[in-house]
């Protein structure tokens, strides 16, 4: 063997071995287009970005690439508004939306993907909040702001727990950024108490108004404290779910009088100190043109806006004047009102004409329009006598062409969605007053809302006060809540917590008002267990420790 051969053998051995040293580095992943959670949560701006991420869940288009508008962008609206005597799905139009249709008529099963996406989105929100709660306190930044950010995160964790509890009952607790994937369900009591603890924390540390317009503050937290207390107190009082013998979702632990008392205190504080007022006129709460001024009443909104990130709500899927979404700003007509909701109004109650209309004509050139705050609103047709064209028109979309020009698709809208508003607090205050023995004070609060409804006309106020008067105060309260908060996501919960959902559904007029109305299906498919949604089957298949809600 020649010496040169030896040289080359050595060289090749070196070559073969080369790189082994550099391998470790080569195989270590260094992401370019995103941060890992360990790289993030380091600076004050990281803290701001992280809390914005917690808000994002409110109208997330999807969560981690899954689902389609699982929250207030669309699905949360279905889960909170359908299946009671305010709105109904149009069977024909929803034939292609079987998951949504089944939410409208109580035929859903645990396979329903919309349920899964919303359930997962709520937990994704909790997870995001948990990261803020755990990681932000060690960031070196302005301590006041740091405390507020953590408190905002606690608020949202409380909010997301609340909705999980309201929709499903007791669910697994997730109080850390690392959650046991097979943890069993906690009880309704634990979920409600966790939510209240989070709201209390937020209430005690948040300022009266957020540094960022449109975000939550101490009164938002207080409003939800009132909500939760009324919810558990009335559930206890009305034996909600008791016939189902399902201890996990039991309200036996609740001290109803003390919860009403709590609610009263919270509402009173908001009423006296918060500075929130009733916005006039009523419909300015529900228009994109007036959304800045509406914040004088909205205590918590899902904020919308133009731009390429779909910061909007898919109003064309929701209630609204049916027809011509792409020329005059109607909707697909998937969701229509039922006559019970309409009939609760007196004809001189201004809220009726602002809440209901006929369908939306197609032609952008011949349809009349009005201009509000520089926005062009086409005017839907009048309601015909047999109500067959009736639509809800509380939320109205302006000219689709203008929307497109500001970056909102013609099937969506940039109207902020009010989750909690001062008007609701007045009604909660009334309920708490009544439950703590002050019926007169309670009725006085109705007047504040009805005064706005009749634009301050005292004669009309008297007329409707008489017309609406019911000896059963709670009945009148529920009616008033439906009139004031029609379609805003509370009626179904109100009927559940007062134990009235079953009887209200049974009493619904099941003759068809419009050709594809199908009340009968709702009536025949409702059962006592349907006050809770079923846990999504995928949750049960991924966590065998979960117990399904009764009857699913």
């Amino acid at each position: 063997m020649k010496p040169s051969s030896i040289k080359y053998i050595c060289l090749s051995v070196i070559l073969l071995a080369a790189g082994l040293a550099g391998c470790k580095k080569l195989l270590t992943e260094k992401p370019s287009s995103f941060l890992t959670t360990d790289q993030f949560y380091k600076t004050s701006s990281d803290a701001e970005l992280a809390i914005t991420g917690v808000y994002e869940i409110l109208n997330a288009v999807d969560v981690q690439g899954n689902g389609n508008q699982p929250m207030w962008g669309a699905t949360m609206q279905y889960l909170t508004t359908m299946g009671c005597d305010e709105q109904i799905g149009d069977v024909t139009f929803l034939a292609g939306q079987p998951n949504f249709l089944s939410l409208c008529n109580y035929t859903y099963t645990s396979e329903n993907t919309l349920l899964w996406y919303t359930y997962a989105a709520l937990y994704a929100g909790i997870n995001r909040a948990n990261f803020v709660i755990e990681r932000v306190p060690s960031i070196d930044m302005d301590t006041t702001r740091r405390g507020q950010i953590v408190a905002e995160a606690r608020f949202f964790r409380g909010l997301y727990y609340s909705y999980l509890g309201w929709l499903w009952g007791g669910v697994p607790l997730a109080d850390s950024s690392v959650v046991n994937p097979t943890a069993p369900r906690a009880s309704m009591q634990q979920i409600m108490q966790h939510a209240m603890a989070d709201f209390s924390y937020a209430y005690n540390r948040l300022p009266a108004r957020n540094k960022f317009d449109g975000r939550v503050n101490k009164y938002t937290a207080e409003g939800f404290l009132a909500k939760l207390n009324l919810y558990i107190a009335s559930c206890k009082e009305n034996n909600v779910g008791q016939s189902l013998s399902f201890p996990l979702n039991s309200f036996d632990w609740v001290d109803a009088p003390s919860a009403y008392q709590q609610a009263l205190q919270y509402c009173k504080d908001i009423y006296t100190n918060s500075g929130y007022t009733l916005l006039k006129p009523f419909n300015y709460l529900f228009l994109a043109a007036t959304k800045a001024t509406a914040r004088s009443e909205h205590m918590m909104i899902v904020q919308t806006g133009p731009g390429g990130n779909q910061e909007n709500i898919v109003y064309s899927y929701l209630a609204g004047p049916a027809g011509a979404y792409n020329t005059t700003g109607g909707t697909y007509g998937w969701v229509r009102p039922v006559r019970e909701g309409y009939n609760r109004f007196n004809s001189i109650d201004g809220r009726r004409s602002l809440s209901f209309s006929g369908a939306m004509p197609t032609s952008a050139t011949t349809t009349p329009f009005e201009t509000i705050g520089g926005y062009k609103y086409f005017i839907p047709s009048a309601i015909v006598t047999n109500l067959s064209n009736m639509s809800i028109c509380k939320w109205r979309l302006d000219n689709p062409v203008d929307r497109i020009n500001r970056g909102v698709p013609n099937w969506a809208g940039d109207i902020d969605w009010g989750v909690l508003r001062y008007g609701d607090v007045l009604l909660m205050f009334a309920e708490a007053k009544y439950k703590t023995g002050d019926e007169t004070g309670a009725r006085a609060l109705f007047s504040e809302l009805r005064t706005r409804a009749v634009a301050g006309d005292l004669t009309k106020l008297n007329t409707i006060t008489t017309a609406y008067r019911k000896t059963d105060f709670m009945q009148e309260l529920l009616d008033e809540r439906s009139r004031e908060l029609l379609g805003e996501g509370w009626r179904r919960f109100d009927l559940i917590r007062t134990g009235k959902l079953k009887s209200v559904l049974a009493a619904m007029d099941n003759s068809a008002m419009f050709p594809r109305e199908d009340v009968k299906t709702i009536q025949s498919n409702f059962a006592d267990n349907k006050i809770w949604y079923p846990l999504p089957s995928r949750e049960i298949s991924t966590n065998s420790n979960l117990v399904q809600n009764p009857g699913f």
């Binding site: 195989l27 359930y119 904020q303 731009g307 792409n326």
Partner: protein
Amino acid sequence: MPRLSFFSFILLFYLWSPTARAQSPVTPEVIVRGTVKDSKGPVRGVSVQAKGSPITTSTDTGGNYTIKVPSMRSTLVFSAIGYGAVEQPVTSSRVVNVLLSERATSLNDIVVVGYGTQKKGDLTGSVSSIKGADLQQSKAISFMEGMQGRAAGVQVTSTSGEPGAAVSINIRGANSFNSGTQPLYVIDGVQMDVNNGEVASSGFGSTSLSNPLASINPADIASIEVLKDASATAIFGSRGANGVVIVTTKSGSANISSLEVNSFVGIGRANKKFHMLGGQDYADYRYFTNPLDASFAVDTNGDGKPDKVRDMTGLPSHDWQKEGMRDALSQNYNVNYSGGNARTTFATSAGYMNQQGLIKNNSYERYNLSLKINHTATNRLKIGTSINASQAIGHGPASNGGNSVPNYNGLVQYFLLSKPVLVPDAGDLSQDPDGASFGSPIDFLNFSYKQSPFFRLIADLTADYRIINGLNLNVRGGGILTTSKNKEFYPSNTSWGFAGNGVAILNTSNTSNWYQTSTLTFTRRIKDHAFTLLGGFELNGYTGETFSMQGQGFDIQSINAVDNIATAKILSQIPTTNKYNYNRVSQFGRVNYSWKDRYLLTATLRRDGSSKFGQDHKYAWFPSAALAWRLSNESFMLRQNVFSDIKLRGSFGVTGNDRIPPYQSLATTANTFYSGSSGSATLGISPNSFANPGLKWETTYQYDGGVDVTLLKDRVNFTADLYLKQTKDLLIQADVSGQTGYLKQWQNLGQVDNKGLELALNTINLRLRNFTWSSNFNISFNRNKVRSLGSVGYIPVNITGSTISAVGRVIKGQPIGTAYGYVFDGIYQLSDFDLVGGSYVLKKGVTSILGRTAKPGDFKYKDLNGDGVVDNTHDYKIISNSNPLHYGGFTNNFQYKNFELNVLLQWSYGNDILNIGRYRYEAGGGYFANLTEDYWNNAWTPGNPTNKYAAVMGQGKTDISSYYVEDGSYLRLKNVTLSYTLNPSFLKRAGIAGCRFYVTGENLYTWTKYSGFDPEIASYSPLLPGIDNISYPRARTYTLGLNVKF
């Protein structure tokens, strides 16, 4: 000089022959001449080598050669692909003439295996070979389609008839849940994964994938080897689990300058058409569904209410398939020029191809340029380089539907579903009586713009150094660069652009992939023991970058807005970039050992590291071993002459799969925007996935037993293989419980088994003086079964682009590729109901449907749990299986004098297709959608109480049910080629070395019961390949070609 073993000869042959031109260290003393012929005449390009030395030359066009050999005792070795090697000692006349026999001793064929070559007879693993000539019978765009029906165990399916559409190749069944079910491609030693993401795509209005390997020119390919069992693939370790396809391109030959011109033109026509309703029938349908629609009804009695269907006489009635589709022309030109001298050879090729789609304005163009140079620098050092550049351009608007409301339907769907009458004038959508979302598909086709060029450059450099005889160092390095840009513009006069006042989309995708491989090969033969040792080290890095944005609201549309996207009023998708990278590090070794050429052993061991896995799981070992017994070489077999070869093979091996997106073991964050106080979106950052530090390799354990039999002097060749593949720790993006805050996570779970039998039979049925008939038959049986899913109950299969989206499930105990839904049980008949107060009420005992008030004419389903009510939690079951019972191909080749006829039949039997496109043209896809005549004429009515079709207004059309499951079996006359080769003697005077004319017909006839456009379907979801959502029709093509060599 030590005697080189046969193995090293093979290695040298692969690397350098017929191009190696080493200078002999000893002054040659003997000049030998001769002519090499085969049964037809002189053969050129045959490698002639002095055995045991690097001295090599090759024959010229006349088959003549001259070689200087060291001594009179030398032996010459003559070899060429497609011929058996022949050894002849030098005779005193110094003239050695040789007659080569074509494939006569196919066992001496050289087969390319991982990091080397082997004689076919010495293989211990399961390898199928396809010759370039067979491949080129196919006039398809990509070589992958040309492989269809040619090799056992290789299932080739092109996703649709769209030019340049993705092709799915499954070797021995699907053994992965993720997208990485495609084999590894090794093109001239350069390893490539198929990453459909390399071709930029917006996904807007199109769920179809493009085939990045369509940029490789099939005309450049000399041969393809498919490595199937683990013994063959394990040397590729991490990347071999789905099998390996080795592509070898043509090389130049020394002392022969060859110019070859290849061109063909073809014409294609859709092999099927749907018969949709014409104008008046459509009006009847619309009047039936809505008698009040003033567009389709007239008021005859003057009461202001329409009462009679409108007479459409005189109004144009459109047949969109006819108006929007065409006879598609294709043209292909190819020039190969190769040559060289004793030290250097080269081969270059340039090609241009343009294939029109069946849909107007849709076409696929490709430009190719390649250069391959081999050079013998010294008698020890050989270097080579190859460069391959290609540009492939897809033209034309999206042809299949997207996944959201305005772009649900693409052109193929529109051709079927668009209404035939009352169509708005060109460019004036607002006249449409059904709302401006629906216009004429011809407008859409004419006004939309889409172009997606894809450029790929492969540059490879290799050096081989003979350290001592028998010991070679090979170093290879290079890179693959791709760049792709997708531009789309849907102006406001198209249905997709109307709502946004024009939509413009821009995407780019760039990737760079570099690699470096070093191998040491040692070959030695000591008496009866022959062995080759291989050791190697490999590095591989891949970086990809994408960009996308979308603008809307264009006031200026007289120029293509995507070329001036700044004029967009809004960005409906903000500019988004993504960069990703992954690396692999590998060490490997292989031993080939044979004793007396009777007992063969191959053992490999590879250690792979992939950056994609958790910190402590990046590396894995992939061993394999194979044994073969050449029974025919035993002494007791020497006396018989029926069997020329009998070989028994057995192998076991482990291979891996890491084809998941990078960074999946890390805890990632994502951008999550929320509207700010000013109304514009502000950035938020949110946790997006949770860490899985235990993420590790998906591992396949494969057992293979095979037998190769050659008998009757090679007239019959038979190969059979039985195999079992068990894939464990499957990589899957599994559902995790929502309480974690996450929806999915990449995990290792479960086990999938594939077992099967492959048979291949090559026979020369007749060999007469002027006539030869040979055939090749191959058939594959594969059974796929999910053995375990870990803790997961099932894996849902969802698709986009349809109202029916939850279409299937992967369930333990079932194969991958199953649809999951109701069992169709006919139609609700009037007799199932009582008439109560004017409405139909189901009789007692008749199954009802949860959440639906059943009506006569609705779909009825089987109540599987017998509770009287059909619901989607208890009454769903597996309703289809995409996997065929068997598939294969049957080729017959007839040669008569200068004529050659090649006929390929190809089939798939026993597979189901979920034809969900059907609901759209059976009155389930919206009131405006047109219907097939078949449906409209046979739909359920009280007077036609059929159990076959639902009523026009019947419910259940968008349920997932076995109604939509059809038998997808087919037998296809895939390719018929008739060619004529002109006599060389006749041509010689014109200076032409060879000339061949041919006519090819493709997809000439398909025997199938399937009702859709075409039964060959491969959806983009590997978990349910057999699903058809009205896919692009496939063309029947006639091609005329000419091949001239100078």
